[in-house]
Symmetry: C2
Subunit: 271 residues, 2 copies
C-alpha cells in the first residue's frame, strides 16, 4: 500500500470522524457524516461546497471513479483508506467504502418560509430517525417547498436520518426550528393555513381544503399531536381508514397527505 | 412458581415453537407464530379459531388480562411460562410476553378474487419482510378487497411480515399465488384492469383510469417489475416525482397508489 493510504484505525483523524456519530460531537465540530454512494453522490451534486473531506477505500475508488473525480474537481480533501479504517470511520454493519464529512445545510425558518406557495411540512416531536428521514424523502418527492423540524425532534444530522433521506437532505430547504407553537405561528403569519395530520381529526383528507398555501403539521409516531397543537391548527385532518386497520404509520400517513396536496394542485395546473 | 408454569427453555414444546421462525418448519407443522399483544389481539378478534396455543408470561398475564380471558373463552390452550421460556420461544430482542401459535389464514386466489369490485394488490417478488407487511397494512387501510403474493415473494408467515402487518393479516383476504403471469391473467379474467406501478411508467398516477375494478401490481423493492410483467399489464403507472428525489420506496409508492384508488372511488360515492 502506498504511504498516502490511511491504514491505522486508531488514528486521531479516524476517531474524530467516528465521534461524529454522536450529536454532541457533531454540534462541537459543526460537521456530520454522509455514508455510502447515494448520499455522497447527492451532496456532491447539490452542495459540493459543504463537503470538507472524502474517505474512500480501494474497492470504492474503482467502483465509484466518477464520484471520486467529482470530489477532486471540487477541491475536496481526498483520503484513501484501508477497509479496516473504513470500518472504523462509521458505525454501520456494511460500510460501502465512501464517507464524506460535511458542513450542516439547514437554513433559517425564515428562509424555509420565504417561498409562500404550495405546501411545507412541520415535524413536531418526530423521534424515530428512519421516520424523519423517510418523511423528508417523501416531502421532496411530493414537491414540498421546505421541511421544518421542531427542536424536540430527532437530530437532522443523525446518521440514520441522513441515510433515510436517500439524498433528499440536499434537495429542498430544511430548517431546525424552535417549539411547535412558534412554528405554527410563523406559518400563519406568512399566509399558510396549518393542517394538523392526526388520526383524531374530524376532517377527512379528501374533504380538506388544500387549495391555498398550507403547512402540514405531523406529530410524534407514538402519541400523535398534543391537544395544544391541534387546537392551534386551522384544521385537523385524518387519512380515511377504509378497512379494519387501526392506523397508518407516520411516514405513510404523511406521504398520503403530501401527495393529496401535490395531486390537487397538479390537477389544477393541468386543467 | 406453580407446577403448571413452563420453566424449562430447553423443553421440546418450547423448541418446537421457536423452530417456527424457519419457513421449512412452518410448512411442515402448518403453524406460525404471532408475537406481541397487537397481533395476538387481532387474531383473537378476527380469527380465534385459527389459534391453537397461547403462551403468556407473568407480567403479560397481569397487563393483558382481557386478552387472556378472550383466549380462555375461545378454548385456546393456555401456557403460563417463565420469562426465560418466553425469551426462548421467539427470536425477538424485546419479547412482549404473549406468543400465539396459529394456523395459516391464506385463502385461494379464486376466493381472493371473488369480490369483483374495487381494487386488489398483487405483490410480485417482494422480498423484504417489512415492506411486504407494511403494504398489507396499507392495503387494509386503503380498503383493498384482497392481497395476493406471488410465489417468488417473501413468506407471508415470516415473523417480520406478520409483525409489520400490525394485525392486518387477519383483516382482509390474502392469497399465496403462483407466478406473476398467472396472477395477472386471473385478475383480467375476472374483469380487473391490471395497473403496474413502476417508476418507468408512462401514465402519471393522477391521469390513471381508476374508475373500474382494478389490480395494482407492485414489483420488487430493488429492481421493480420485469419487462414481461409491465408488457402484460393494461397500463404502467408512475407516482409523479415533483422534486429531486429519485423515487419513493416500495411501501410509500404502493400506499400512494392505493389511496388514489380509494380517494377517487370515495369521491364518486359521496358525490
Amino acid at each position: 500500500m502506498s504511504p498516502s493510504v490511511l491504514t491505522n484505525p486508531r488514528a486521531e483523524r479516524v476517531k474524530a470522524v467516528r465521534a461524529l456519530g454522536r450529536r454532541s460531537a457533531r454540534q462541537r465540530a459543526e460537521r456530520f457524516v454522509v455514508d455510502g454512494p447515494q448520499g455522497v453522490r447527492e451532496v456532491l451534486r447539490f452542495a459540493p461546497k459543504t463537503v470538507t473531506d472524502l474517505y474512500v477505500d480501494g474497492a470504492a475508488s474503482q467502483r465509484h471513479g466518477p464520484l471520486v473525480d467529482l470530489a477532486r474537481d471540487a477541491n475536496i480533501q481526498l483520503h484513501q483508506c484501508s477497509s479496516a479504517v473504513m470500518a472504523a470511520l462509521v458505525d454501520t454493519q456494511h460500510p460501502q467504502g465512501l464517507v464524506a464529512v460535511c458542513r450542516p445545510v439547514d437554513v433559517s425558518v425564515e428562509d424555509a418560509l420565504a417561498d409562500e406557495s404550495g405546501f411545507v411540512v412541520l415535524l413536531a416531536h418526530v423521534r424515530d430517525p428512519g421516520n424523519a428521514g423517510t418523511v423528508i424523502r417523501s416531502a421532496d418527492a411530493a414537491g414540498a417547498r421546505a421541511v421544518i423540524l421542531s427542536s424536540a425532534s430527532v437530530d437532522l444530522y443523525n446518521p440514520k436520518v441522513v441515510r433515510s433521506t436517500a439524498g433528499s437532505l440536499w434537495h429542498l430547504p430544511i430548517a431546525l426550528g424552535g417549539d411547535v407553537t412558534e412554528l405554527i405561528a410563523a406559518c400563519r403569519e406568512r399566509g399558510r393555513r396549518v393542517l394538523a395530520a392526526d388520526g383524531a381529526g374530524t376532517t377527512l383528507l379528501p374533504d380538506a381544503d388544500l387549495s391555498g398555501a398550507h403547512a402540514w403539521l405531523m406529530g410524534n409516531e407514538a402519541w400523535g399531536l398534543n391537544e395544544a397543537s391541534r387546537a392551534q391548527a386551522d384544521d385537523v385532518v385524518r387519512v380515511p381508514i377504509h378497512g379494519h386497520a387501526e392506523s397508518l404509520n407516520l411516514a405513510l400517513a404523511a406521504t398520503v397527505c403530501m401527495y393529496a396536496s401535490a395531486d390537487r394542485s397538479s390537477v389544477k395546473r393541468t386543467s
